[in-house]
């Protein structure tokens, strides 16, 4: 069955989410939102899914702080972060490129990353531009570090990085290439990645979403997604078109 790259990514992210109680998705994250809703459909209503910015898909009544308090209590199992730069140690940069006193590029800012990266057990890194510009040897600014000293309280951190080209897992402070998406190659991943990573002798191809998954995404998930991401739902799934 034909599918779009977004559908492959959402299917993979849904697998990474796994069997958990609560997945939260930040702003401007339509593909992770698709994955979280897909996981909820497959799990008959579990995990709980909180989509920031969607009154329909958040249960919070204690204001903007409740997301962070919830995470601090250990009640958020999965979250998604990205970065203007991501390095091989799992450090993410949402602030600037260049010298801090005179930056050359400024990004919006760190949002909740300097907290959530530490206290959400599974943080899935997500970046659809896989290039040496974004995946760098060392970030210019650490919004949140991939790992911490042993005495720093930390119950969470990165478990994976998914891009438009491939899926990496993250363990012991390093990325390992898990699979390469259909139509892409290991050589291409090496060429466009600015950091060192491990890889098995044979790198598998990322499995394509099954017809059942595609049906679920298109027929059941997409209409729910349209509340928060009307443009994305129309472009990818043809909702309301």
């Amino acid at each position: 069955m034909e599918f779009r790259p977004e559908e492959l990514l959402a299917d993979q992210i849904a697998q990474l989410i796994g069997d958990v109680r609560h997945v939260a998705v930040g702003n401007a994250s339509p593909i992770p939102a698709t994955a979280a809703l897909l996981a909820r459909e497959r799990g008959n209503g579990r995990p709980y899914v909180s989509l920031l910015g969607s009154p329909k898909n958040t249960f919070w009544t204690d204001g903007a702080r409740e997301l962070f308090d919830c995470a601090g209590q250990g009640r958020i199992d999965v979250f998604f972060l990205s970065g203007g730069q991501i390095d091989g140690h799992g450090n993410i940069n949402l602030v600037e490129i260049g010298e801090h006193a005179h930056p050359k590029v400024r990004f919006p800012g760190s949002f909740g990353s300097a907290y959530l990266y530490y206290v959400v057990p599974k943080v899935i890194l997500f970046r659809t531009e896989h290039s040496r510009r974004t995946l760098v040897p060392r970030v210019d600014y650490i919004s949140a570090p991939g790992a911490s000293e042993p005495n720093v309280f930390r119950t969470g951190g990165p478990v994976a990085l998914i891009t438009n080209r491939c899926l990496f897992s993250f363990t012991d402070g390093r990325f390992t290439l898990q699979s390469v998406h259909p139509g892409h190659t290991v050589e291409e991943v090496i060429e466009h990645t600015g950091f060192d990573f491990d890889r098995p002798a044979q790198v598998p191809e990322t499995p394509s979403p099954s017809p059942e998954t595609l049906r679920l995404m298109r027929e059941t998930v997409a209409p729910q997604l349209a509340e928060l991401y009307p443009q994305f739902a129309a472009q990818v799934f043809g909702v309301g078109v």
Binding site: P55, A64, E66, F68, P108, I142
Partner: protein
């Protein structure tokens, strides 16, 4: 004993040049009519605290030269792209930026809400967010064993300013589930609120409303500004004006375009 001001400008009088002003994030009721009025008045040297992020409001105030210090976790126009005047000001070094992370701002305001000098927060250690904040400290938790933790000094704004759906004549404000608006008002010395309409009766008399009401006790000035969050949304009431925000993103991309935007939408359009 009405708190309702005769005009928007009168309600905004207590926001002085150089004051610390706290404002909410895009989906919590951003007082855009008030923001335009402050720009028309030519307010200067604000220490703007955006709880915990901002979009059009901070970008406009920065572009119009009203901000000396900005304390927030991110400024962006979301799906309309980067915030162009914020970005330009940072690259030019024309504003002082105090980068934070969302829960740090919530916690620092909660410290003022409780009347305590600081609040501890997990995370942050090893990040450059902490590295560049001389005002944040790391201590060894007195209740732990080799357990470093960050302490954030209380943020005590001079004024909290936000927009809400309705107020009553007793000064009570319906904030619904946007509870951080209450925290802002509790933490700040003074609070100014703009509202879309006046609710007949007393919001505190109705238990359904009361739970989502900021009591007038905390509110100093109220101004009636219908659709006062435009072009930003007031969730549960109206959506963002997408076409306008796209126009802003385009115009504000250059300094000249931004000046034209101000002429067209800020200086020309007088408060009703």
């Amino acid at each position: 004993m009405s708190h309702i001001a005769k005009s928007l400008d009168e309600a905004l009088e207590i926001i002085a040049d150089g004051c610390m002003l706290v404002v909410p994030r895009e989906v919590s009721g951003v007082p855009m009519d008030a923001t335009r009025a402050l720009i028309r008045r030519g307010i200067r040297q604000l220490h703007l605290v955006a709880l915990p992020t901002s979009s059009l409001q901070a970008d406009l105030l920065i572009g119009a030269g009203c901000v000396e210090t900005l304390e927030t976790s991110a400024v962006s126009l979301g799906e309309y792209g980067p915030a162009p005047r914020f970005t330009a000001a940072i690259l030019a070094g024309s504003i002082k930026m105090k980068d934070a992370t969302c829960p740090a701002l919530h916690a620092a305001l909660q410290a003022s809400e409780k009347g305590v000098p600081f609040m501890p927060l997990r995370g942050l250690i090893g990040s450059d967010v902490l590295k560049y904040r001389d005002d944040w400290k790391v201590i060894d938790s007195p209740f732990g064993d080799n357990d470093p933790i960050v302490l954030l000094p209380a943020i005590k704004p001079d004024v909290a300013l936000f927009h809400a759906a309705m107020a009553d004549v007793y000064g009570n404000i319906w904030i619904g589930r946007q509870r951080e608006l209450a925290t802002m008002a509790h933490a700040a010395e003074k609070t100014v609120v703009t509202v879309d309409r006046i609710h007949p009766g007393n919001l505190l008399d109705n238990p359904t409303f009361a739970a989502g009401t900021l009591p007038g006790f905390y509110v100093d000035r109220i101004a009636l500004t219908e659709r006062g969050a435009w072009p930003l949304p007031l969730p549960d009431y109206y959506a963002a004006d997408a076409a306008h925000l796209a126009e802003y993103a385009k115009m504000a991309a250059t300094e000249q375009g931004f000046a034209e935007y101000l002429d067209k939408y800020v200086y020309e359009k007088q408060a009703a």
